[in-house]
Subunit: 304 residues, 2 copies
Amino acid sequence: MQSLPRLLKRPKLLSYTWRVKFHTSCLSQQDVLMGTVDKWGGVTVDLGSADCGLEGTYTHTSLRELDAFAGMLRNSLKQWKMEGKKAVWLKVPILQSRFVPVAASQGFQFHHADKDYSMLTAWLPAGSCKIPHFASHQVGVAGCVLREDTKEVLVVQDRNRETSHMWKLPGGLSDPGEYFGETAVREVFEETGIQSEFQSILTIRQLHNYPGAFGKSDLYIVCRLRALGHVIDHCTEEIIGCKWMDVSELATSQSTSLISTHVARLVLYGFREGFDKVDIGMKELPAVFRNMTYKLYHRQIPDS
Amino acid sequence: MQSLPRLLKRPKLLSYTWRVKFHTSCLSQQDVLMGTVDKWGGVTVDLGSADCGLEGTYTHTSLRELDAFAGMLRNSLKQWKMEGKKAVWLKVPILQSRFVPVAASQGFQFHHADKDYSMLTAWLPAGSCKIPHFASHQVGVAGCVLREDTKEVLVVQDRNRETSHMWKLPGGLSDPGEYFGETAVREVFEETGIQSEFQSILTIRQLHNYPGAFGKSDLYIVCRLRALGHVIDHCTEEIIGCKWMDVSELATSQSTSLISTHVARLVLYGFREGFDKVDIGMKELPAVFRNMTYKLYHRQIPDS
């Protein structure tokens, strides 16, 4: 509880506290939100946590409840600024999103949202905001599946696209937690029925303001895959055409993308001079935290 | 307006329409939300648009308004399902987030949110959801800045980290719209005061569930940069130590990360055999849409 002199210096707070106490039974009598503090001077308040200072389960929306939250947040921001805090993170369960406009009117913005929650942030100090960005790139992966016996590459024609006349490498967006090679092998199998094995990365495209990336950037990774079979059984829902094509035909085709012709030229060079001349190889290594590993892609050099 | 037989078949709709008409003056009398349809069978409704069927500016929150929206959304979903629509996208301005819990209770989830809006999605057909994921990777870039005269590499010690004793390559998260090399050059300059020039990519690490990536994945790209000067003027806010170190020392150091020793070994090999043996080179190419370009990273081969 606060001492009287502290309250007297803050008449607005007093009146707010009064409202909370006497009008909204479901709100805590504390006048600040409770959060956890991180080592970078940030505070995180989780409105879904029983410890955040908002009590009860709010099954209805009332102006009074939002008013009380507004006062509590204003008050908390004052205190955090006084304490020299930097970033404030406000995690809001999707069903409690009625609190979001209140936070927005006090300077919060969406940092990100995923499935059942949103995360809002506010930067307290003067000067530029140093809150780290959320994920900035979507990752699409294509498989350049090669038959060693015939020197052919697997190509497809998409359904539902302006580009349906073009022969492309099969591929798609990576699922959460997939490594590049895993995405390539999965997408190739889903689209064409061909089983394959990851060999290397051939090329990486970085493109900003990609249409369909919701304002974010796109990485398109082409993996070299070794075909483990050659009988095509393509997905008719996504694909209207699928065939094995001479790599040299893809390298000069007008009915494909510039990146596919680039890849085809790399492959032709690889067939001629050895794939060690075009591959970006892969190693799995242990991460410093938890029991995690990561994949490292680089040119392979002799062990020294 | 609807014909009488259509209304008779849908008694719930009738009662809902009645409520909208007679009790909430700020809601449209239309009984469905208006959206735009895309070529994949998706509907996008922007609650911030005057055309979405919700009229007026909602300066207050009332249960009635939310009830009316709930009816309208339920009704819209029925109609979209009947029409064979697949994905529904609901764009909600941050100040109108009070509508989000209503949508959530009808099966919507957050797809993403950024600054001043959130995007919710629902998948209508039976079977697995085919709504594309939002950006899945954050991108951090480090600069491996090399002095050609002394064969030294620029290394730093971070402030505020458990790893402050470790010598690391300077770097940080990419800003929106930056290419890998641009991030590396900017971060190196900000942290160390050293101007440099992008040469190539040396390695790419892919790591999932990265701490600090908000549940997303991390890409860490190490770029080879050529030092354009060697007088260090490091940022004391972020960095506690900065120096030029023999590459061979970094290659065997215990006070650095496994990835840094890997990079140092690549550089030693490059000094000995030529950087064409370790570089992943870069080209700028025109994109097929708008007047955009992209960067393509791959091994450089002779023009054929």
